[in-house]
Amino acid sequence: MKNKGLGKTITTSIVKYKAFFAVLVMLLFMLFPRTNFYSVFNILDMLNSASILMVVSFGLTLVILAGGIDLSVGGSLVMGGILTILSMNVMPMWLAILIGTLSGAVIGTINGYIIVYHKTEPMIVTLGMSIILTGIAQELTDAHPISAEGLSFMMIGNGRIFGTIPNLVVIMLVVFAVFYVILRYTQFGRNLYAIGGDYEVAKYSGINVRREKAATYVLAGMAASFAGVLLSSKLNSASSIYGDQTALTVISGIVVGGTSLAGGVGGVGRSLVGLLVFAIMENALNMLHVDAYIQQVIRGIVIVAILALDSYDRKRRREDV
């Protein structure tokens, strides 16, 4: 009976896959100006640069899917890097990396415990946590950047497989696959959709909501601190200020990708595309030599426009039903 016009179908799918279309439009647009945008080097470089925030986003996506939010991922990222580099002086590198990565798990456990078991507002608890972590990181390093001795650690973040594909891109894809499988094919992953969709219902359906919701914070913390390890390896340095913008940037990307802040809808694939939007945009703006201040204005407009479009889409559907 429903007689949707073709035009409407197209609009609807553009709105639904807006991040994907944004990527497409930008890619098409960049065909015209004379830049080196379409060079293997640049495309790989862009992915390489984006991969660290993407790793953060995969963990954070689980938290958001389960109806939470984590503003402390920047802090976990910083701690991961700092602890790895600090430990490397006194123990083998692999152990240091492990410690760095696990630091995020510890942070996530504390977040999860306070948020889930004491039913507190995640936004504020993790905001508080991020402030605390900044303080601890500054204390640990006296607010100085620290760097690792020798080159082996640096190779992880700067090496290339077969001499072409950056290690970081490969690592990011592996992490992506792990999280994709978790969400798609495990009981735990499916439960997260239920928890985010309706917490009470999930609880009444016999899902161990507390444990699983808390687990998302642990995973997010771990992904973030692992990303911190990667970042420190890429920059051969760790510092208390690396995480300042991480949470807001990554969450903007996740939302742009189409994971709902209300929980229950989305996935890591969408987050990947969402972060790609920003990666391409930043790269293209630099390629086009756009003034730094105008870039900031454009960035603001893009964030607002895409988020507003997302809300508008939901409003439209609300009124439809």
Binding site: G128, V255, L261, A262, A308
Partner: protein, 319 residues
């Protein structure tokens, strides 16, 4: 009664902790309680409380405003640049107008797009903050301006920044005046109640005749306006307007509101409590500075305080 005592402790734990801190500071560092220091506290309090009072309304209405920092820098650079062409009164007027207009623009984006949840509002206002900050940079080309570079008279700014009336600083008087207005507005007027109801349940409020969109517009506009006031008070005080002025104010304002005891769930809260919260935030950093605690540890303390406040809020809610 024991139970009543417990409840009171829960209600006022944050306050008690800070009182404890004040006592300890006063003992270790007697200069803490000198009148000079009290004047310091009063001055430092001004810019923060303005933003925090505006933020209170946004939080009661069920949102969080991250755009205040961007608004503050925009207002500061534009106001300063206008003193020469249109005079100080006109500049202040335009500055406040820009603050309110920016808040109004936020609310338009929010109401037009139908962003009804706290998280949606949070991230939209974050984008707006990037936008306002970028505009301020664009406007000045990244240059920091100083009151003394201008040619016309800027006595009003000097008055706001360092003038006193009796023992009170002028900024404190401005604060008292705005507090009175906002307190009455919140507790006794229809719109004040409408804001709470909107924060409690937007759909139901709309279906019972509350003009929800109007309410949303009002709270964001108040917040933008108050950020504008804060910006002018702040740059009068420091006499320079940089395009990054106001950085970090959004966090401290949220801290003040939450520590004061306004619930982040929306619907409940009060500007009077926020005054207490802002006081605590300022006292904390003042006493930490006096005790020689590093900025690193101050961060740790702030974060802990925030978590403690939210945990207590939740205990109160559950009883």
């Amino acid at each position: 009664m024991n139970k009543a005592l417990m409840k009171a402790v829960k209600e006022y734990l944050v306050l008690l902790l800070v009182l404890g801190l004040v006592l300890i500071t006063a003992v270790i560092e007697p200069k803490f309680i000198t009148s000079g220091n009290m004047t310091n506290i009063m001055r430092q309090f001004g810019p923060l409380i303005m933003v925090a009072m505006g933020m209170t309304f946004v939080i009661i209405g069920g949102y969080i405003d991250l755009s205040v920092a961007g608004i503050m820098s925009l207002v500061a650079v534009v106001t300063l640049s206008l003193i020469d062409p249109i005079g100080q009164v006109g500049a202040i007027f335009v500055g406040l107008l820009i603050g309110a207009a920016a808040g109004f623009l936020n609310s338009l984006v929010i109401t037009r797009s139908g962003a009804m949840t706290q998280a949606e509002g949070l991230f939209i206002s974050y984008g707006m903050s990037v936008l306002y900050g970028g505009t301020a940079l664009l406007y000045t080309g990244g240059v920091t301006n100083h009151l003394s570079y201008i040619e016309s008279n800027y006595s009003l700014f000097t008055l706001i920044g360092s003038g006193t009336v009796g023992i009170f600083s002028v900024s404190f008087i401005i604060f008292l005046f705005l507090l009175l207005i906002l307190y009455i507005f919140q507790n006794f007027t229809y719109t004040g109640r409408a804001i709470c109801l909107t924060g409690g349940n937007k759909t139901a409020a709309n279906l019972t005749g509350i003009n929800v969109n109007r309410t949303i517009i009002i709270i964001w506009t108040i917040s933008g306006f108050m950020a504008g006031v804060s910006s002018i008070v702040l740059f009068s005080r420091v006499t320079t307007a940089s395009p990054v002025l106001g950085k970090g104010f959004e966090l401290n304002a949220i801290l003040a509101v939450v520590v004061g005891g306004t619930s982040l769930k929306g619907g409940k809260g009060s500007v009077a409590r926020t005054v207490l919260g802002a006081m605590l935030v300022i006292l904390l950093s003042n006493s930490m500075n006096l005790l020689g605690v590093t900025v690193y540890m101050q961060n740790v303390m702030k974060g802990l305080l925030l978590i403690l406040a939210i945990w207590l809020d939740n205990l109160k809610g559950r009883r």
